[in-house]
Subunit: 434 residues, 2 copies
């Protein structure tokens, strides 16, 4: 193929302009190292007059981004609009059907439409790069597709959302409340005005579905994924986790089980000094546990203009070099619909309740645990620790021995029906592999 | 190019047989994911009758490995013989000159002959893969070549030798002497009968020269590299480092300085809970610090049959897909001879001396430091801690304020001329970026 590439870019927010600037800044280097000549033929965005870090007059403006995909002079379309449907989706389909290369940073697009995108890109034999969609500047997609893991991947897990990791880090290190840590994240530009998807685990679930697809040869799916966000974590939970030697992190984990894949997003306790516990702020980390290559850990910036545009650039280099891989590393026909195995093996849990200050409540509480097969490894109850709004109850924190999730769910159901506790209890799994 | 590949393999030790087994085990998967058909046409090793985990009768035997490179039916030669000259070198040259693909796990070969190998492979436009040569199963070579770091790399550093990391880990965690930890490494198969290159830093220096070449566009060179091994670290050094909040690790670091590249292998103090301090046993870690993509950290198995053969396989996949890159990511003509800048910026040092028990020795000792511009941040001296063989001297441990290396060297020279100390003192830099 020719190494002179004509590029069209849709979406000129911070990331889009970052990609344009990064491309222009590296024009010489791209030519020297990869023999790559390129030209940005056209750009498109919803608002032409917005103040931007690039000069729009240097490029052809397209009112309708779909026209980028239709322009016969354009070889490669880069989609930085976002969203699982709408423009992003239409542009992807039109680009693939026109047999052009397509690059995106859009995890929702891939997670939601993985099956059709895999089918069409396979049929049309086009390049489809999405390194920037998962874990910012960490080359996790290329690594998973590199042939390094032809042999069995047992599980893949990590910290996949920078915003929630920032919030948890600040609650832990600066003793902030959830609300204050979130405000700080917003002030620093780490969280959107509406941070729901970062907080409730959905952003991490999108990313996990993509990692799981490549790792286990299935179509991305959220369907059978258990998703718990970080909304109910209190500052004191960090304090107690630390006493037990742990930190609380929002973990996404996908595991190969007998008969299916188990996918889970949940705040979990991870070893304070381990590979996940030491990842702070907006950083991301992905661990790949395999049969023959041990555990590979990749840690880096989770998002932002620099890492995201670096990842997009690395996709452009792949496109220029004619590197083609299947969307999820297997041909469309060989991918399976996501099969679920909810059976999570026994593990320890961190349990926090606010036990009302009344006679016998501790005995009643522990007997509920015992009845459900939950054995207590460690317990902390101190009279001096009350929540501001929970003056008549005392936090009791328990670390359990390994127990199955059914027992935990059953104990939870029973507990919330009693008058023993104020506020809902939380049960957080302790991550084994770290 | 055709995706049916005929492979020749030279060297059938643990790694060589691992590669053969890994290839055969993944035959179907390679076909499915990458459309790759292959056949192992021929094998060669120094000893035909040695007991091996593969059945030699399944392959053609070549008495002379060079004949693999000459065989017109072979597309790709994999060299797993080892050594910087001899068979490995001759085989590389012959293979490249015959315009075949070449894959190796041999860091010494690349580090020592990088210039000629770069020139020949560029001239003959051949594939040359060496993912397995640095940091076992960590895809550091591909990552550095991926276009992710077109923008400036400021420095690259990490733990590059698994054997020495195992020894330091065991001295630290199990309170073992250097000798006992080395014996344990040898019993477990983590250290060769002659472990000199692991211990004295040369193995790490070879690897660093390769990382530095790709990162900074220079030919690999050991010439201007400062190399200090771990032989002089005592068990008590780990104890004191820990008191200061650090661990001692053998670090390789290459930094872009004004006017050149600074390359250094040395035991250094790294934060106990940081990305390097938590890497234990035979694991490796590489950190890439950049202007636009933050710091990317890759951690995984440093060596062994599984990771090494996984890396070789990932090179085979690249070869099959026609992925070609320059040996050190730039054309031969654009690479520079290694230029050195010894000027290391000021940093803190850990200093340990055995001060002889005589009146005024502490005052004399500290005045030597002061005279050389070394200011003391923290100091530990305890009467109860003597080395078995150093009954008449007491360990004094100092953490300095930031100071330049000339001052350190000058103080060292002065100290060893006095009768103040028994045993040579050690000065270990404190790594800033971790």
């Amino acid at each position: 193929m020719s190494n002179s590439i004509n590029i069209g870019i849709a979406g000129l927010g911070t990331i889009g302009c970052g990609v344009v600037n990064n491309l222009l800044r590296n024009q010489e280097s791209l030519k020297e190292k990869y023999g790559l000549d390129f030209e940005i033929i056209g750009v498109s965005a919803s608002n032409k007059t917005k103040k931007r870090s690039i000069n729009l007059e240097d490029f052809n403006w397209y009112d309708d981004p779909i026209d980028l995909a239709k322009d016969k002079n354009i070889d490669l379309v880069i989609e930085l609009v976002g969203g699982e449907k709408g423009i992003a989706y239409d542009l992807a389909i039109e680009t693939i059907n026109n047999k052009k290369g397509f690059i995106t940073a859009n995890k929702a697009l891939l997670s939601t439409n993985g099956k059709i995108l895999s089918e069409l890109s396979c049929k049309n034999n086009v390049f489809f790069g999405y390194e920037a969609a998962v874990a910012g500047g960490i080359p996790i997609i290329k690594t998973l597709k590199s042939g390094l893991f032809l042999d069995k991947i047992n599980n893949i897990f990590g910290i996949l959302n920078g915003t929630s990791n920032f919030i948890l880090s600040r609650m832990n290190s600066a003793n902030k409340s959830f609300e204050d840590a979130l405000s700080e994240a917003q002030e620093l530009g780490y969280a959107e005005a509406d941070p729901s998807f970062d907080i409730n685990g959905m952003d991490a679930a999108h990313k996990l579905s993509i990692l799981s697809a490549i790792s286990f040869g299935e179509f991305p799916s959220l369907e059978n994924t258990s998703v718990i966000g970080i909304e109910n974590i209190q500052t004191i939970d960090h304090k107690y986790a630390k006493e037990f030697g742990y930190k609380i992190k929002l973990i996404g984990k996908s595991s190969l089980m007998k008969g299916g894949i188990s996918k889970e997003i949940s705040p979990m306790l991870v070893k304070k000094d381990g590979s996940l516990g030491t990842v702070e702020g907006v950083s991301n980390v992905v661990c790949i546990n395999t049969d023959y290559n041990g555990t590979l850990i990749l840690e880096g910036e989770g998002a932002g203009e620099g890492p995201t545009s670096a990842s997009v650039l690395s996709d452009i280099v792949d496109f220029a070099q004619g590197i083609k891989s299947h969307l999820f590393n297997k041909p469309f026909d060989d991918l399976l619909d996501s099969t679920n195995n909810n059976e999570i093996s026994k593990r320890c849990y961190y349990l926090r309740v606010f036990l009302v200050d009344q006679k016998g409540s501790m005995a009643k509480f522990t007997s509920i645990l015992e009845k459900n097969g939950i054995s207590i490894d460690q317990v902390i109850q101190r009279g001096d620790l009350h929540l501001k709004d929970e003056k008549n109850s005392t936090p009791v924190i328990i670390l359990t021995y390994p127990v199955d999730s059914d027992s935990i769910n059953s104990a939870f159901s029973e507990l919330i029906k009693t008058d023993l506790i104020s506020l809902n209890p939380i049960f957080l799994p302790v991550l084994k592999d770290n």
